[in-house]
Amino acid sequence: MSKAWAVWRKELRDALRDGRTIIAVFVVPLVLYPGLMLFMGSIQSANEKEEKELQVRVGVFGGAQLPGLEEKMRALQGVSTVSLERIPRPIDAAGVDAVLVILPGLESSIARGDSVKVELLYKDSDHKSSAADERMQPILDEVRRELTVKWARSRGASAEAAPAISVEHRDISSKEETGRFMAALIIPYILVFMVAAGSMQIAIDTTTGEKERSTLETLLATSASRSQIVMGKCMAVITTALMAGAIGIFGLWFNFSVLANLMPALSSQSMQFSIHPLQALFMLVTVLPTAILLGATLVAIGCFARSMREGQTYATYVYMASVFLGLGSFRQLGTPPVQRFMIPILNTALLQREILTNTVQPMHAAITLGMSAAMAAVMLVIATRLFSNESVLFRT
């Protein structure tokens, strides 16, 4: 085993002196993420500012039936109105962003007790039109209230000084709860993604790279056995993968909890993002078999590939498969069926979500760990066999 550790140490040392590994393991999670977050945050702030300053023009058809309505509309910030004689089709033909339609015969319909419909025509596909819809929400509430008062009066009720009634949505989640929800949603996916990204470069470099750089023969002629060499290489890949995963989580925590609070441009994205040490430990345990599985798979691919280019192409397929399986956890609402915990990588992401939301079911954990460990063992055997097979190792 000491020879496997020697290979492990050498491969890690070698990898940590390779710019590509540094970028995948350190730069991407610690620099690229904050950079992207900052960029996205500043775009969001700019959009919000632009939205506030946006001037929208709303056409009103049949507005005379509700006296004072257009005045109230003009009182809204950034809204100008125009009375229309007919309903324009399409609405932009009239040079407006939205049209409020109050069909004729409103009073008589109410008096008869018929249903009344007032519509705001807008285009969700158009940014300005969509903004007009948003601005008009208080006016639509007001129209609803006024029509109700009219109906009450038509029925002889006294509706003087009718109170303003508002029905609102209010998110009462604390920042901590939002943070926990987001963490449970994002972390499992990011972890899978980072583990795959972190292991890709080193796995191909330590196998196909040895072939391409003509260092493989030297290694094979040493007294280390093929299985010791593969074990050492796999351990180095797994270490890098875990390192990438841990740094990825740190990068997320840093962005959401620290950077977002420090930078005004990102303040809207800040949330309390905490992981209990025990949860972190469980997550590490959960991700270990997946890291072994991915590491061994990529090492096996590296043994099989004839060139770095071929190896990287195959590795990209594994990476994409991991990303898609990880994405599957995003789509999973509620408790997943047991069968999902048999699918490698997806099962890890689902179990990690349970860990983060303190809803771990022992059966799910057992299936996930058992399945991942079994698959990892199979891939390790395959990697060792491929590395010991001279027709694979020396194929041209």
Partner: protein, 248 residues
Amino acid sequence: MIEVLNLCKTFHDRKKGDVPAVRSISFTCRPGHVFGLIGRNGAGKTTTLRMLATILAPTSGTARIDGMDVNERPGEVRKRIGYLSGDTKLYDRLTARELLSYFGELAGMSPASIAGRIAELQVSFGLGDFLDKRVGKMSTGMKQRLSLARVVLHDPPVLIFDEPTSGLDVLGAREVMRIVQDLKAKGRTIIFSTHIMTEVERICDEIAIIERGSILAQGSVGALQKQNGGGSLEDVFVSTVGAVTSDV
């Protein structure tokens, strides 16, 4: 001691079917001697040496290295050999010291014995100023000297050199030959493949001319020259190999 007994290697090719690379070759090399394997490119020299180094498994036949069978105890064989090929490279991102330590660990040496041996090799191979320099920044000659130091680090009794002077300039090649002669003088068993006849004449005690996987002629340089009616070793080689190729 190297004993090669009816060693064969056949590769399988999807299009060509079975391709014999080495056909039942046998020879012996004793300690303190250099055995030269000479042949054209693709004659089977590298495949033979790779089988001796247990990098490839023989299809049939066997070889014993320092008494250990390559088929039965490949791990023990690798402990007893130092293998160097002119094509093989070193790890560019490691320093010379790190590289030697790595191969020392793989040879099962203790940290103390690795450190002691590096200190010895630093002097005998002139690695002084380069020991803490990364391999990628070294000259070709320096890399080859380091490769040779790597090969003898664990002091193996048997040394396998596959065209070790390939790609080196005159001075670099001369340095390699000097080191091989030193090792011979220390009683190591050396097998040396090349197609440079002057190298063979200088250091080999016995040679085998290999062509299409078979040994066509074997003996000392002098004996082969005598059999061929005098002339240079190059003449011997050309007439031996030419006789076979003209038969086809």
